[in-house]
């Protein structure tokens, strides 16, 4: 155990460092999450910030020092994560590397994999992306159809993956591909790769989102040849590796490098907006209907937090032990959608503006609302989540 005194001192140190080193407002609208990085300008800004944070020793603090981590207790990284969110600094963009691929490699990779990948994930030298979803297989991940056919020391990959965040900047992709269609079920033919992106036949094409911005790609593979050595796990074991990745993604198991992966937009920002807004010639915060709607959102946000606290007390979770941990994404993303949608309603006619100097706060609320669907759709839509909860938690029959 690290003494409380040491942790307190560390917290003070981190606060001071953040105060001195947080970059000034760049003068352009920063993306909200790693999924929304749409311009080179945004990307370079965020990559530099990640490098600065890593070089200060504040990223991957609990990862092994022999691979570039800090080799310290997780408590230190937790403090950094908390302080970064509290100070509202920009996020570090290499989320898939830091929080999904990195922990996976540390868990399952060879010594060579660890030497090769870990440090550059932390420094943002190598950006990582994820190739799970396909145009025809969104929620039904197990049905992935991108083919990888063994040819000597290589696999030949064909097909396409979609929603590759940072695809245009990535050096590597965690790729789930089909090596066989002959197995007893659709899952048995899947294999997992740490695939290079910058090889012939791999073509990430940016997708224009509903916000009008970019941030995702559709990645096309046309006879792309990747080395067999980049396979993680055996042929046919891809599904279980992918499930492990999703455990890291959903935060169900620890091991993530840490940092901040999204601009933290919370209920206090909405209250602050209501304070500035007017309705019927009065501050919106005095309008009874506005107050009631705000209180509903406040109660939902607070309730979500309390559910997390309750889930750590087994004696209070005997009926449905997994209800809370399995519903985190559902609850968080739906709340964000509701909050940002409500934020527009506080702006009067200006609710109809979009990203521009005339819009309130430059239009970030409109953009936030439209981007909120990435949460309610990505990683399994709200509707799929409700199927999963209904079937796995409540034991209802399959739909």
């Amino acid at each position: 155990m690290t003494s409380q005194k040491i942790l307190d001192e560390f917290r003070t140190e981190v606060r001071a460092w953040l105060a001195d080193n947080t970059p000034p407002d760049p003068g352009f609208l920063l993306p909200e999450t790693f999924m929304e990085v749409g311009t080179d300008q945004q990307f370079e800004f965020l990559r530099n910030w990640q490098r600065t944070v890593y070089e200060a020793g504040y990223l991957g603090m609990a990862w092994p020092s022999e691979y570039g981590g800090g080799g310290q207790p997780q408590a230190f990284q937790d403090i950094v994560n908390h302080e970064m969110a509290a100070a509202r600094v920009p996020f570090v963009p290499n989320t898939i590397g830091l929080n999904w691929a990195g922990p996976l490699i540390l868990d399952m990779g060879t010594e060579e994999d660890k030497q090769r990948y870990i440090k550059n994930i932390l420094s943002a030298e190598d950006i990582w992306c994820q190739g799970f979803s396909e145009p025809d297989n969104g929620s039904d991940l197990g049905n992935a159809q991108v083919r990888a056919v063994r040819d000597g020391d290589e696999y030949v990959v064909n097909g396409s993956k979609i929603w590759t965040s940072l695809g245009a900047y990535a050096k590597y992709m965690i790729l789930l591909a089909r090596t066989s269609s002959d197995g007893p079920n659709k899952y048995a033919g899947l294999t997992f790769f740490l695939a290079p992106m910058q090889v012939a036949g791999v073509d990430p094409v940016p997708i224009k989102k509903l916000t009008g911005e970019y941030g995702f790609c559709q990645t096309y593979f046309s006879d792309a040849r990747i080395p067999a050595s980049c396979r993680l796990g055996a042929e046919g074991e891809g599904w279980s590796v992918a499930m492990k990745t999703l455990m890291f993604e959903r935060g169900a198991i620890g091991g993530q490098a840490g940092g901040l992966s999204a601009m933290d937009l919370n209920i206090n920002d909405i209250i602050e907006l209501a304070r500035r807004s007017r309705r019927n010639g009065r501050p919106a915060l005095e309008d009874p209907l506005t107050r009631d709607e705000l209180m509903k959102l406040i109660l939902e946000a607070k309730g979500n937090q309390l559910m997390g606290a309750k889930s750590r007390i087994p004696a209070l979770c005997q009926d449905w032990p997994t209800a809370v941990p399995m519903s985190g994404k559902l609850r968080g993303s739906e709340l964000k959608r509701k909050m940002t949608r409500f934020a527009l309603s506080l702006q009067g006619a200006n609710g109809a503006r979009y990203i521009s100097d005339d819009a309130i706060d430059g239009g970030k609320w409109q953009r936030s609302y439209l981007n909120a669907f990435s949460g309610t759709i990505g990683g399994g839509t709200t509707q799929i989540q409700k199927n999963i909860l209904g079937e796995r938690v409540l034991g209802l029959p399959k739909s």
Partner: protein
């Protein structure tokens, strides 16, 4: 301090209370006792007294267990889950009222009796339906050495079987509590009320120039403590109720077939049932958070916020769960024989006692949404 703490004692009380309710007061027997007029069940009350539950929040010097109201929360939750008709909550709140507002003499006279099973109940509300005690019209007037009480009180739980009623009335400009022994009240002054929750024994009590000793007046004015305690236990009951009705819905969705499929396979039923689950988990988290604040002896305002949030969440979610439960049972849900109606009707009582969710949100907004 953790935002939610749950002690070994609370855990044991929860297990004991759940076992007791399942064995001694199963929901299956409820409809028959309602049809028999829902007479007060003395044997069950004695069993609950023997378990020590009536003394949970009462100090040891008065014969109680010396725990806090937070320890009564698991019991209220279990009673709510099984819709048990019982004056447990009413009596427990009355004991808290005695502790908050009673004189030392009143406390030493009544708390030991309550701890050993004498039923006590608060008579706060009046026909106007207001949730604010500031609207109290019942009046206490002083005549010589005595007090005279006049006015009508409604929604008085267990008034018939109670030994003690604590009545809110206006006295010299303030609203005060006074102690009225059941024996001082004429039979004809107590009328059973028709209320939406048929598992409640609720009464109207009319006081027509009832003469009381001066010593019947409670010196304390801490109605906020009484309100907080009531909100906490009402929320606990509702939290249990949601879990109960969710079980009823899930059972039906897994056993009822239509078009050759179990109806739980239909997403139109599955998804809103997940919503009930989420509501149940959130309500419970709020209830035990409020209980934690209470047990930790937090500032009164902190406790008030926590219990109002718990009440806003728990009764809204319970009422919604009950509403959906009736609907999901289809034609059966429209009948008296379906358990869903028992939960819905209980939920509506809980929702409209001590302020519904909109009332709680409005009170919370006054604290949390200051204009500057």
């Amino acid at each position: 301090m953790p935002v939610i703490a749950f002690s070994e004692e609370q855990s044991m009380l929860l297990d004991t209370a759940m076992d007791f309710c399942a064995k001694e007061a199963p929901v299956a027997g409820l409809r028959a006792s309602i049809q028999d007029g829902l007479e007060f069940n003395g044997a069950r009350w004695q069993a609950m007294t023997d378990l020590g539950w009536l003394g949970i929040g009462i100090p040891e010097q008065y014969g109680g267990l010396g725990m806090t109201l937070a320890d009564a929360v698991p019991v209220a939750e279990a009673l709510g889950r099984y819709l048990v008709p019982s004056p447990f909550v009413a009596t427990t709140i009355a004991a808290q009222a005695l502790m908050a507002c009673g004189s030392p003499e009143q406390q030493s006279q009544w708390l030991p009796r309550v701890a050993s099973g004498s039923i006590a109940s608060l008579a706060l509300w009046e026909p106007s339906g207001s949730w604010s005690l500031a609207d109290t019209e019942a009046a206490l007037t002083k005549t010589g050495d005595q007090l005279t009480l006049s006015g009508q009180k409604v929604f008085v739980e267990a008034a018939e079987e109670a030994t003690l009623l604590m009545v809110a009335a206006r006295f010299e400009g303030n609203v005060r509590l006074c102690l009225v022994e059941r024996a001082q009240i004429a039979e004809s002054a107590i009328q059973r009320e028709s209320v939406i929750d048929e598992t409640r024994r609720s009464f109207s009590v009319t006081f027509d120039h009832l003469v009381l000793d001066q010593a019947a007046l409670c010196p304390g004015l801490a109605f906020d403590v009484i309100e907080n305690a009531s909100l906490l236990l009402s929320s606990a009951e509702s939290s249990g109720g949601i879990a109960g009705v969710l079980g009823v819905v899930v059972d039906y969705l897994k056993t009822r077939k239509q078009f050759d499929r179990y109806i739980g396979a239909y997403q139109a039923l599955k998804h809103p049932t997940v919503d009930i689950l989420m509501g149940s988990e959130m309500a419970r988290a709020y209830v035990y958070h409020a209980a934690t604040e209470w047990a930790a002896g937090a500032e009164l305002e902190t406790i008030e916020n926590a219990v109002r949030m718990a009440k806003a969440c728990a009764t809204e979610q319970f009422a919604e769960a009950g509403d959906r439960a009736v609907q999901f049972h289809g034609g059966f849900g429209f009948t008296y024989d379906c358990d869903a109606q028992l939960y819905l009707r209980r939920a509506l009582w809980n929702q409209y006692q001590f302020g519904d969710e909109r009332y709680q949100r409005s009170r919370l907004a006054d604290v949390m949404l200051a204009a500057s």
